[in-house]
């Protein structure tokens, strides 16, 4: 197949994997997505809906309650904003991360090891890349719905300070894509549920330290470097810049970080799925 016939939305990973494409990718990600949507019909909608409330509760508690103690805070670009407007974009990025990580760890682990779903899929003409992209797409869909809901809440509370807030939506999807693709790759190495609990445990400090609730400048420089090397900080800064309207060239770095993360995650996941099932 020539490069010219690639679908317009082809990702970097697809292009990179092109020589072995036929075995990896049947161009039928739609079938995986269709199955996923059918499966959600039988899940408890309340549970799915409940995921939306978590960041809202945080916003009410910290934004309103704690915010009353704090007043305004300064962003990394020097803007003075109300505390709620400071944490709301961070919560948006965090919920994208949490949703993507949950879907790509717990859910994928269950499908890999218990329901043997992928094994069944890969005995058909579907390739591992179809499966990986399909699953990631489903995780993103859920993330997009949460994000949209949360942004409506932000608008109602007057926490979107500039029109660029609209761009936060694609930014959030980028973040979720990054975490979902990498999360799936990591999950493919896991053997027990306890190991997945460690993922949750490791995400806790990232959640608390990545400029979510306060500037990282309170920490010594060495720790700041570590935080800046981790993905969530880039996500928080990117979304905050967009909702507060403080655009900066650093945003290209943040976006670039996620593009690399997505590429690594997709390549990694695909090759793992192939190693696991297409021996």
């Amino acid at each position: 197949m020539s490069a010219a016939s690639l679908p317009a939305a082809a990702t970097t990973a697809e292009v990179a994997l092109q020589p072995r494409r036929s075995a990896l990718y049947a161009g039928n990600t739609g079938a995986v997505i269709h199955r996923g949507l059918l499966a959600t019909r039988s899940t408890n909608y309340l549970v799915v809906l409940s995921g939306f409330f978590e960041p809202v509760f945080y916003l009410l508690s910290l934004g309103i309650g704690f915010g009353a103690l704090v007043g305004t805070v300064q962003t990394s670009t020097g803007q003075e904003v109300p505390y709620a407007a400071f944490i709301a974009p961070a919560l948006l990025a965090v919920s994208a991360m949490n949703g993507a990580v949950y879907d790509s760890t717990w859910n994928v682990f269950f499908k890999l090891n218990y329901s043997k779903l992928y094994q069944g899929m890969l005995t058909t003409s579907l390739g591992p890349l179809d499966v990986a992209l399909g699953e990631i797409f489903l995780a993103l869909l859920r993330g997009a719905m949460y994000a949209l809901g949360f942004m409506v809440i932000m608008q109602a509370f007057g926490l979107n300070l500039a029109w660029t807030a609209l761009l936060a939506l694609p930014a959030v999807l980028l973040i979720a894509f990054g975490f979902a693709s990498l999360g799936m790759a990591i999950t493919s190495y896991m053997k027990t549920f306890q190991q997945i609990e460690w993922v949750t445990f490791i995400m806790l400090p990232m959640f608390l330290f990545s400029a979510t609730f306060y500037q990282i400048t309170v920490y010594p420089e060495a720790i700041q470097w570590v935080i800046q090397a981790l993905p969530l900080w880039h996500g928080v800064e990117l979304v905050r810049g967009l909702t507060t309207g403080a655009l900066s060239p650093m945003m290209f770095v943040h976006v670039g970080y996620y593009l690399v993360m997505i590429a690594i995650g997709v390549v990694f996941t695909t090759s793992r799925l192939r190693a696991l099932f297409l021996k």
Binding site: L46, S50, E54, S61, L62, F66, F213, Y219
Partner: protein, 277 residues
Amino acid sequence: MTALDQTQRPDAARAIAAGAAPRRWGSWYIAEHRIRAMKGYAGDAIFQSLGNPLIYLFALGVGLASLVPQGVGDVTYLQFVAPALMATAAMTVTANETSYPVMMGFKWNPIFFGMNASPITGAQIVNGMMIHIALRVIVTVSIYFGVIVLFGAVPSSWGWLAIGAATLTGMAIGVVIATYTSTITEDRGQMAMLQRFGITPLFLFSGTFFPLEQLPIFLQPIGWVSPLWHGTELGRVATYGLDEPVWLTVTHVGYLATLFVVGLWATRKHFTKRLNK
């Protein structure tokens, strides 16, 4: 008693003699079992009971505190938040131990039925689990207390009483959760719901990060019924002598103790009923 009851028969007398020890000590046998089962995850449990306070204190005591340089009332923000974190840690342990493990014991790994086939009764299973959970909470909370003392967050010499306050809080919440989870027969994501609409709001709206009065009045009742708020305030009285009327302190203790007693009673009832099919 029926006419068939012949307690004088030799084999009946032998049964009654053999039943004496389990009737008396059964709860402790269950506690022993649960502790033995911890071997599988003891390392993780210890690491997490040490790791969690360090992470939270670092994040909140250092990070959030930088936003509230004036402190809360007469104390620093760290001193204000530390007893809340201790009570929350207790809640986290008990919520974990009384959610999936209870459902699992009836359903996926139905050990409760196995226990009940021996002389152990449903009430003893509940007691034994609670003894084990209480021990876990006391250890976790004591470690937490040690860490916050090192952070300089306990000005009062009565501060160690906060260990008791946090333990009571955790146990009160634990039995309430067990009362519910012991009735679940089908997994329809109730655990996620419990976490999101139970544990998380308790954590966020119980005067943990800020005094309850900071919240709009319509959200404050969450705090009043929240065992975590009562437990946190009790802990604050212990660690820095929070100024509150004596009747309120008594109310905290009374509320938590009542929840514990009622929750334990209800959980035991549910277990007994569910095991007697």
